[in-house]
């Protein structure tokens, strides 16, 4: 919650507004995702998909994966080991 989520929301909104709907989100440095972060991710994943894009995740740690699984949204996302693989998947 707080500035971290607000900053991410702003960044994604700016990208989408600029027409960039294919987004790769690297979570390697993210120690934990809370429900507000998950809410943001699923909301933007749904909206970018409607515009022909998607949000794909790179290197979520085991705790992020556990949290996504607990609330039933893990299977909504494509997950990759590195940025290049995620970017290539949009091709």
């Amino acid at each position: 919650m707080g500035q971290a989520v607000d900053g991410l929301r702003q960044a994604i909104q700016e990208a989408v507004s600029a027409g960039d709907t294919r987004i790769v989100l690297n979570l390697a440095e993210v120690p934990m995702i809370d429900s507000s972060g998950i809410g943001l991710l699923v909301r933007f994943m749904a909206s970018t998909k409607q515009l022909g894009g998607n949000i794909k995740l790179v290197q979520p740690n085991k705790y992020a994966i556990q949290t996504l699984r607990l609330v039933g949204v893990l299977n909504l996302f494509e997950i990759f080991d590195n940025d290049d693989a995620a970017v290539d998947s949009f091709a």
């Binding site: 919650m1 500035q3 809370d34 429900s35 749904a46």
Partner: protein, 146 residues
């Protein structure tokens, strides 16, 4: 994963480990969560359990800030960490708000709610902690980890 009941582990023999007040400010949450994590680490609580407690506390404090206090920084939230002789820990988060009805929370895993941008906090707490009790009409949450 968690049970809500009028009872719960006995409160009589609890040791107070932490008792902090924080303003109802989203930016104040992290410091409290870190204090709890550090305390649990000193108690040699395993990392997986520390993570689950930290996230549950984060969710409870976030709810207190947003719903209990309406993001009003002039209001205070109390967070206590206690343990019993068996090593079970309890975190109690209390806000000055009117409370809420936890049983009326929608199921975030229902198809109609899967893409919702909110409504997962209480559910997540119940999944992470072993026992959850709501007191004071919902303005206080007690979360047990065994």
């Amino acid at each position: 994963m968690s049970a809500e009941s009028s009872g719960g582990p006995e409160n009589n023999a609890l040791s107070e480990l932490l008792d902090v007040n924080m303003p109802a400010d989203a930016e104040a949450v992290a410091a409290v969560v870190d204090s709890i994590s550090e305390t649990l680490e000193r108690l040699e609580v395993p990392e997986q359990k520390r993570f689950e407690v930290a996230l549950a506390v984060q969710e409870a404090l976030a709810n207190a800030v947003v719903h209990g206090c309406g993001n009003d920084r002039s209001k205070q939230i109390r967070c206590r960490l206690k343990s019993d002789p068996k090593g079970r820990i309890v975190i109690i988060v209390t806000d000055p708000g009117p409370g809420f009805s936890p049983e009326l929370q929608p199921d975030p895993k229902g198809n109609e709610n899967l893409y919702a941008d909110h409504g997962r906090g209480v559910y997540l707490i119940r999944q992470l902690m072993d026992e959850v009790h709501f007191e004071r009409s919902g303005s206080e949450i007690m979360m047990w980890k065994y």
